[in-house]
Symmetry: C2
Subunit: 304 residues, 2 copies
Amino acid sequence: MPTLAERLGFAATDRVAIVHVDDLGMCHAANEGGFEALVRGPATCGSVMVPCPWFVEAAERARQHPELDLGVHLVLNSEFPRYRWGPVAGRSAVPSLLDEAGYLPRTSLETLRRAKPEEVEIELRAQVERALEAGIDVTHLDSHMGTCFFPPFLDVYARLAHDFELPVFVVRPDRATLERAGIPGALEVFRRLVETLAAGGIPVLDGFDANSLGFREGDGETHNLARLAGLAPGVSYLICHAARDGEELRAITPESAHQRGFEHRFYGGDAGRRALEQAGVKTVGMRAVRELLRAERRPPGGDR
Amino acid sequence: MPTLAERLGFAATDRVAIVHVDDLGMCHAANEGGFEALVRGPATCGSVMVPCPWFVEAAERARQHPELDLGVHLVLNSEFPRYRWGPVAGRSAVPSLLDEAGYLPRTSLETLRRAKPEEVEIELRAQVERALEAGIDVTHLDSHMGTCFFPPFLDVYARLAHDFELPVFVVRPDRATLERAGIPGALEVFRRLVETLAAGGIPVLDGFDANSLGFREGDGETHNLARLAGLAPGVSYLICHAARDGEELRAITPESAHQRGFEHRFYGGDAGRRALEQAGVKTVGMRAVRELLRAERRPPGGDR
């Protein structure tokens, strides 16, 4: 069977990055920086946080730019201490998804401790449906803070992929990666997820680099050149959080404002484009993966 | 019977302003500018929008400054086009309070058209209760965009005042004011509200000036000096919307950013303090009105 890279038209030995902007809609700065990266920079796709206050602006920009490749960043957390959001399905519909203050919990572990999988499914379906209703041509799904990757929620994640016929951010698991991600013991569950997805014709990615925010001020270029150099052959999800640095972003997340601002400048302009070229990394978006999925799921010549 | 001004320790002929900051919690800029007006400026009290994304920050500042005089700005609208919020009670609990996009409606009239009074009551009680749970010593209630003043919602407003033993922003109505406010035909309903409140020991204010945002850039001082000059004897609610002007505020409300920014500088510092003095206007907060209400409702020496 040809590799995912080959099925997308690349060579099996190519290193192919899905340059992905997380957190669109999270705040105005995320929309300003994130959409600039998508429109002008080498970022190929991004995903939108439906429960967040600035989602409506993100959807408006998506409608203005239907060529953009946008998915739904499935949200089970509201992580910042002073800027909060609640579930889309409504607090009384999904009470197990709320923390003491009435918002989605701040950490993945708190969501894991509280959330009933059936309410997770209600909420995440509502997020996808609201994105579609808002006119976003949803190309893929992924998981904010990786909370969907906890074993109790993996089935929901897989069901959404099947039901909406969408590729998801998921890779073949290995023990070390899962341990680093804070979900040890999930190897077998994860393997089953990948098998279920593959059996249903949902493509599984070859790798990822989620180390988007782990650098000190001034080290952005070095850090990101190393990320590009570290990509293995195959199709990898390269996560970034491009957002315009400024007073709003600093108020929400002083811890990660400079990193998000750097990624805005780097993946929103020529610096990132040149770095990808010089590293010999090719790029692709999730819409191409979705079209592959839908083409492969249907017999040639069959009806849509 | 002595006037409200006299019961608060002023002379009946004094012009007394409740210098009130609306929209705390609406955004970070509203918290920055609004709390500065309360802590450093002549603003005497303000009210917090519980359903808004930055409510948690407002509550945190309220806990840090328990001396501040803060009420709940009862919210039935989410008026800005790209920055939205939903009800506190949860979308499935109060479906008549949602617009097509799933948020509180953008205009008062749309709320009037959609909202069932019993769901308005569920939502507004949830807002007051969440403010209390967040540690805010709620001193009063008022109504964001005046939506509670539509006749179908007036009984809810009065019941909340009674049940929580809180003064509300309300004045004796006259036909011209109600017509200017876009609620003609409400005179009799409004009169009954005021009678109900007064009979229950809830003080009614003598006047108000809500013309906080109606001036062009550069005209802020002239406009606000005229507002102060126009106050009649008695206790008047002087509404302002102090917020820090900047990128966040401009993104949310380009139409009213310079006015909110001016009011932050004016009512957040010596200019407003001097202007009040020179106009001979005295000031008081709603906590004093609440203490008056609670004292008058109880027989001398009776149990709390």
